[in-house]
């Protein structure tokens, strides 16, 4: 029962972050390529993260109805900012000399992006994904209010019936999940940075 709830929570987080990567990565690339759209893209993702989570989920619930889908959409929107921003930052911090060299070799724009710029920017992008994931684990607590279940529902129930054990179980599982993701992804990040000890070695969004 309890393990099932942890997996339910994890499922929503992973699904949302995956969607967020699928949307955020192209948006970050677009912000890099089109200076005109850059401000709008960054502003919108900033606003999305500023909106109180429960308010965002409530508004989405009106259109989608209660359930996990609402939560996944909400957390997807909520996680966009770190991914979009870091993709943009990572790409724009790639060494100009390397970009120049790629152009000199006659690579097309798309080729350069896929073969040179994105791989070099990847450590920074990954930092954004880590931040988004750890944030999403916390925010998914709100799922309980819109019928999505997860660890939030244990905590809510514990508060309602004044059962400290449930609150602590929910909290500790959440903390553990956040810490494990943070540490493991941090380790991958360090490995990536060693591999490309280029301009991506910094950690701009932390």
């Amino acid at each position: 029962m309890s393990v099932k709830i942890i997996f339910e929570h994890l499922y929503m987080v992973v699904a949302a972050v995956a969607c967020s990567i699928a949307i955020g990565l192209p948006l970050g690339v677009a912000a890099y390529f089109f200076p005109r759209g850059r401000k709008t893209i960054l502003f919108v993702s900033d606003v999305l993260q500023t909106v109180p989570s429960l308010a965002l989920l409530g508004i989405i619930m009106i259109f989608v109805g209660a359930g996990k889908l609402t939560v996944i959409i909400g957390i997807t929107l909520y996680s966009l900012l770190p991914i979009v921003r870091n993709t943009y930052l990572g790409l724009s911090e790639v060494d100009p000399g390397v970009k120049e060299a790629a152009r000199g070799m006659g690579m097309s724009k798309l080729h350069r992006l896929l073969k040179v710029e994105l791989p070099l920017a990847f450590p920074v992008v990954f930092t954004g994904i880590r931040i988004a994931t750890v944030n999403a684990i916390g925010t998914t607590v709100f799922a309980a209010s819109v019928g999505g279940g997860g660890l939030g529902s244990v905590i809510y129930k514990g508060i309602r019936v004044m059962n400290v054990k449930w609150i602590i179980f929910g909290t500790l599982s959440l903390m553990l999940m956040a810490v494990v993701f943070d540490v493991v992804m941090g380790m991958i990040e360090r490995r990536l940075n060693q591999k490309f000890s280029g301009p991506g070695a910094r950690n701009p969004a932390d």
């Binding site: 109180p52 508004i59 209010s145 959440l174």
Partner: protein
Amino acid sequence: MEDLIKLFDLYGASLIRNIGIHLLYVFSSVAAGFFLGLVLGILLSRAPKYSKVILPVLSVFNTIPGIVFIGILFLYLGMIPATVIIALSIYAMFPVLKNTYVGITNVEQRYLEAARGCGMNRRQILFRVELPLALPTIIGGLRMATVYTVSWAVLSAMIGLGGLGEFIYQGININRNDMILLGAVPAAILAILLGALIDVLQKKVTPRGIQKEARAK
């Protein structure tokens, strides 16, 4: 449109009251959290040895959702506004503390050396060099604290203490979309407005010397 007018007729007064309550929670807890975070951040920056242990521990605590603070304090203190304010203050403290520490420790060594060379004592260096240079980062922490607090203050309604969450929870419970929006839209606007306000503040407090550097980034 007519529905909207009817809605405001019915709930206008309680909307204004709840916005007031919400703001009260946000301002009092952000003020307390900011003060605590600033003081603790400065203290930690004086003792980097201990900070290496304390900061990771704090960032683990930071992963505790705000609802848990509210929930646990609710069990011990009961249904009083202090429960919400204390819980949110603790929550607001983390980003300010972290950014104060990072801001101060990131001040470049050459500035400190120059200050020492000018004959400043440690307190003067702190107040005239380190804090002004760290201020933009500290205000960045204040922004995070404020936005989070507006977000978590929605939860005060969960333990029956008002705020804009009242409409959202009621709306969800009785399945009325207009009620949800009545709480959600003002809460969203509030967060965006306060965030924008602090952005302006951040620009104002950035020392002129490093404004250029920041823009060049």
